[in-house]
Symmetry: C2
Subunit: 336 residues, 2 copies
């Protein structure tokens, strides 16, 4: 896409040569939704030298961002027209239930912009993007970072430092937009895990959505024990229930759109826990569960990311090669 | 108990007046088992001005403690004879499976000493203490502190700072030993929660043992997702599986002796998770679980301990009054 910029200088009208804003030049970012993730991304991008602005639906959130000196508007068409006029990278930073509304607006005001998102589930976003005819310039993203907080007040430009950022390598993904999205992730301090949508969704059901479900159940079991149980609670309960502190609407918006993958691992876990219960009842033994769980935690602790150095976007079979590397724990830490 | 100390000075034998070593005088502590909890307790007690020594079964553990300047022996009879000779407070700091062996030795070498323990479950310890005829001078204890580490190398004299320390107020508990045990807990930096054994065990099933079981199951679910899932894992998985890093034998020694209470809450949790699964499948909704879990976590976060100031050990109905206060979240922070 070549943006034609018409400059007016006094009474002399000059039609400037269109300039392709490449990823190397850090084209601006337009972040839709400046909550914890989107807002932190805007701050991280600006700290990394990008120009950028945001849109936020809630006036209070937008005002809080402006009070901190950030260019965040409640006018979605204005934010998107500006994106279209500057070849900005648009980042959808709203929860899944609000994604469709954002995509409608993007299709209306900035259909030529490169588009990514930071939503916690990838296949449903990709499907919605296709429905809106925006698939050609879309690359899915998901920074694996967050806290139990939400909203602008919780934003942190360092939120993505040393995090992993999933970037989609689904069939049909084009190298130029992929590079822009991956570069933004790297510039925010993360490493990039290349992954296709369906595999991402199955993985995060295990390591993000199931943790939410179990944390809620554990919190409930503790509180059912009353003041005595909560008064005796220490580190294991505190850590195990931390994410139950996340706003319920946000937890539902994270988990429910991934219901198929979550159901699969939830069923699997109910089977594991049922077997542990049966063993505890029949033999007063938790041996199988505890040994398998400990091995698993050790595997997690000893997992080492390795750097993908033999494949760059646009290389022969790059999508398939990056996907295979990501499955084996590979990450990109640079793009040259 | 009045210890008669026979002093020998040259050829003049002097029988000294026996001296009652009161809790106010910080009688020494004899810690049996100098792993994470017992070893930290020995260090905390010494830091608080107590005299103290320990016994450890493993020569490596005892040597590590001695190398750090602590008086830890592998000779259990010697440690206990010394306790008997100095009216020391004996602290059983071994996991439940080793408790019976310790109690046998105490019954043989130091049956008159005041006795407490730091085992994670209370009714089975109390039953074993009764079996060995030691109930009269026993007061159960359980500091709610720990890490996923174990052994002397993990000990920390500050482990109990600002922790809660459950101290038993079961029927028949005597005020003088109770005061000595509670004072040790306070001197180690903790606050004291008075609780009877059965209620303690039901409470810790909810806030300590269930967290272990769920952490193991979560770790397993993550690792089943392979390198990709583990590579994408972030804070919720890390925190939710932390205690799965604990040595399997120790987790089993903590959880299995509390099987009745753990089975009750595990069944309850399987029901809760099964209902969430059904709701997710039928209605793509986790609303009930997420809202209840969030309310529970908020209740935990907002729970405030309050200080018990109207009851001291030995007061009229003190056991029943302390028990009732503990049930309502009350703690003792001082004993005068």
């Amino acid at each position: 896409m070549a943006a034609t910029v018409v400059c007016s200088s006094g009474n002399v009208e000059v039609v400037c040569q269109s300039v392709r804003v490449t990823s190397a030049m850090k084209a601006p970012v337009c972040v839709l939704g400046t909550g914890l993730i989107g807002g932190s991304l805007l701050r991280a991008a600006l700290a990394a030298g990008y120009d950028g602005w945001g849109y936020n639906r809630s006036a209070a959130g937008a005002q809080a961002a402006r009070a901190d000196g950030f260019d965040v508007t409640e006018d979605l068409p204005a934010a998107l027209r500006r994106a279209a006029g500057t070849d900005a990278l648009i980042v959808v930073g709203v929860p899944m239930p609000a994604v469709d509304h954002m995509l409608s607006a993007i299709a209306s005001y900035a259909p030529e912009c490169v588009l990514t998102d930071v939503v916690s589930v990838k296949a449903p976003v990709a499907a919605a993007v296709r429905d809106h005819g925006l698939a050609d310039r879309y690359v899915g993203g998901h920074p694996m970072a967050g806290t139990s907080e939400s909203g602008w007040a919780a934003t942190d430009p360092e939120l993505f430092r040393d995090a992993v950022w999933a970037v989609g390598v689904d069939e049909g993904t084009r190298a130029e937009p992929w590079t822009r999205v991956a570069r933004l992730a790297l510039d925010c301090g993360s490493v990039v895990v290349p992954v296709v949508a369906a595999e991402h969704d199955r993985a995060v059901a295990r390591i993000s959505h199931l943790p939410h479900v179990l944390a809620e159940a554990l919190a409930l079991a503790g509180a059912t024990g009353g003041d005595l149980a909560l008064g005796l609670a220490a580190g294991s309960f505190r850590d195990g229930t931390r994410v139950a502190g996340t706003a319920p609407d946000l937890v539902r918006a994270i988990c429910e759109p991934n219901s198929a993958a979550l159901l699969e691992v939830l069923d699997e876990t109910l089977t594991v826990l049922g077997a542990a219960r049966d063993s505890l009842r029949a033999e007063t033994s938790l041996a199988d569960l505890v040994e398998a769980g400990h091995d698993a935690r050790r595997r997690y602790e000893s997992a080492r990311r390795w750097e993908i150095t033999d494949t760059l976007p646009g290389d022969q079979d790059w999508l398939e090669r990056l996907r295979a590397a990501g499955q084996r724990g590979g990450v990109l830490t640079r793009l040259s």
